[in-house]
Symmetry: C2
Subunit: 378 residues, 2 copies
């Protein structure tokens, strides 16, 4: 057998969204993310109807149409996104004078091993017309057989890194991110370290998806990017991250948590610059960019309560905070944060910020020979 | 489109095994079930090597080999069973002078929607060489696309009914099962009602699997049957069910639970008679029985502690007890049960009983035209 490639499953630093459907759950606190899916609906439909080429994919009625949503979390946004895709495929089928009710869809909902799949499965839409499956694993690795998917959807997910870059937490490195908990955009070395990690992760992502998608298969990516030249801290989300960081410093000063712990705390996420991301898309050799749409998430302009914002932050970051500071600090940290946010919400909402640029990118898997894969598990 | 069949997803009365990996979990209390998988290993290997016909299934290197384990629960027995199947397929491949490392396996672990898939996913063997997915749903329904599976494995699962037969809990019916919590085998009408439900469920099961397996695909069924003419209460498990039933009656007499509640409590399971099951296998039109092996589960002969037996009973039946009597009665019921079992373990282990007959059946999907399916969701 030609061993063209060695495949290694690395250990990843990764934390799922808050599970269940309680008040702090992601299921109840993902309005921002839902709005992105809603905004993208029309573009997704147009993109699929225009670019899906069933014939070149070798798809006929005897096939199952397989869709994967990566980073599904616990729902419910994933169910809406998947439904939009299915309707678009059916529309395309109809446009070709075929009967869409003859297609059988299988949908794979993917997220990390420690995602709350129980909630995802229990809340699957009862009126769904597809066969559902859950697939655990990080999207930086492979988790589907070769050429087994027709459409991959990945919304609001790619900004999660496989790890925090080493130099970010290295006191001797010029990229040491002391005093901040994310890539603010103010220190060149920090930006470079985060950006390099993101690039590596995107390479792994493209390599894995290139094997899993059928030649001619489509990949839909929804991602939030920072306008070129704008520091992340000057965006709505960056400002919120800085605010949470300031709360951690307050709590360290009060002696609740150690200063060292705060200094070594960093988000394992990076929102790339617009131009940086576009270049990454264009230079990859497995996919051709068929379409790129820009839009602004209108949720970012809405005026909501401090409680709304703090619930959203907690649904996403509770896992990270728990892992780093310990279970017993989750409540005090988020309680302090929400109280301080309540007091400062006015100035935060009035701050001058730059809109992030939401991108919907449609990629098509190039038609090349299938690569054989060998596994080495570590 | 030729609408050859209307497909309806019914609501099912079904309860999963105890999740997690705590002291009462199925993961820690499934030795009986594991022993069955272990005993069957050699027969599974032989059966697959003898009967798997890759060519007639249209399988080549570009395909993914898809295996489904139905009723996986939370593991770990399912992982052993799946590994045995994969090794057998590899052995078959080698026997045909092909390189087994070129096959990509995808394994679907199925159980009810409310099964603890989180535990299943977190305990997946780190050295597995297959792509894993979880599929929620009752095995009485379809949950896979047409002709998408090559091997289906179903161990120690088919005795779970989709519902308790209506007449069993109908005070006016001659099949009212007052005074007992399962099909003891002593009342003809009760046996007939349970048996009819089992037959219906098996029909649904065969119809669903016939669509999901590729023509030529294999189905491995492991099931425990009662020797013809022996009342279920005269088997090891039946005796244990009667003992739990007697505890419920004691607690009703003590006033902890109502007598009416005890009378209306029945296990939604039925272990068919050997001859009855064999006939069901032979008369179904979608599959041909290629092999049937009988064996006895040696675990049933071992002398274990009362605690061992009560933990096993609880891991399986806690969900049913909770659903019927209410959450607050779970502890008192199982505590009383384990104390009384401790006192009576000697006489239980010395009772004269009949061995159940464990069957491993290998079926092959007949090669017939593919049926088109239409969905009606209720």
């Amino acid at each position: 057998m030609a061993k063209e490639e060695t495949y290694i499953l690395p250990l990843l630093e990764s934390y799922p969204m808050v599970g269940g459907d309680g008040p702090h759950s992601y299921a109840k606190n993902s309005t921002f993310q839902k709005k992105i899916v809603d905004c993208a609906k029309e573009m997704v439909t147009e993109g699929i109807v225009e670019k899906l080429d069933l014939q070149s994919m070798g798809f006929d009625n005897s096939c199952t149409f397989r869709i994967a949503d990566l980073g599904s979390s616990v729902g419910p946004n994933t169910f809406i996104a998947v439904q939009n895709i299915i309707e678009a495929v059916e529309q395309k089928y109809q446009a070709e004078n075929k009967d869409p009710s003859t297609i059988e869809f299988q949908v794979f909902f993917n997220d990390l091993d420690n995602n709350d799949f129980n909630t995802l499965f229990r809340t699957l839409p009862p009126t769904r017309k597809y066969f559902a499956a859950g697939v655990p694993g990080s999207f930086h690795n492979r988790f589907f057989p070769k050429s087994s998917l027709h459409i991959v959807h990945c919304s609001n997910t790619l900004h999660w890194l496989s790890k925090i870059p080493d130099e970010i937490v290295d006191g001797k490195s010029p990229a040491w991110n002391k005093g901040s908990i994310h890539c603010t955009g103010f220190v060149k070395e920090v930006v470079e370290a985060y950006s390099a990690q993101f690039k590596n992760d995107m390479d792994s992502f493209f390599n894995a998806r290139a094997k899993e998608l059928v030649p001619g298969g489509l990949m839909l990516i929804l991602i939030s990017t920072v306008p070129d030249g704008v520091p992340a801290s000057k965006t709505f989300e960056g400002m919120h991250y800085d605010f949470l960081g300031s709360c951690l410093h307050d709590l360290a000063k009060m002696g609740l948590i150690s200063e060292e712990k705060v200094d070594s705390f960093n988000f394992s996420l990076y929102f790339p610059f617009y131009g940086e991301f576009e270049a990454l898309m264009r230079r990859n050799e497995h996919f051709t960019m068929e379409r790129m749409d820009k839009f602004t998430n209108p949720t970012r302009k809405m005026v909501a309560s401090a409680e709304f914002y703090s619930s959203h932050m907690r649904a996403v970051f509770e896992g990270l905070v728990k892992e780093h500071f310990g279970d017993q600090f989750v409540e005090p940290i988020f309680n302090y944060y929400s109280t301080k946010l309540e007091e400062n919400i006015g100035s935060i909402l009035n701050a001058e910020i730059h809109d992030r640029i939401e991108l919907l990118i449609l990629l098509k898997r190039n038609i090349t020979p299938i690569i054989t894969t060998t596994w080495i598990l570590t």
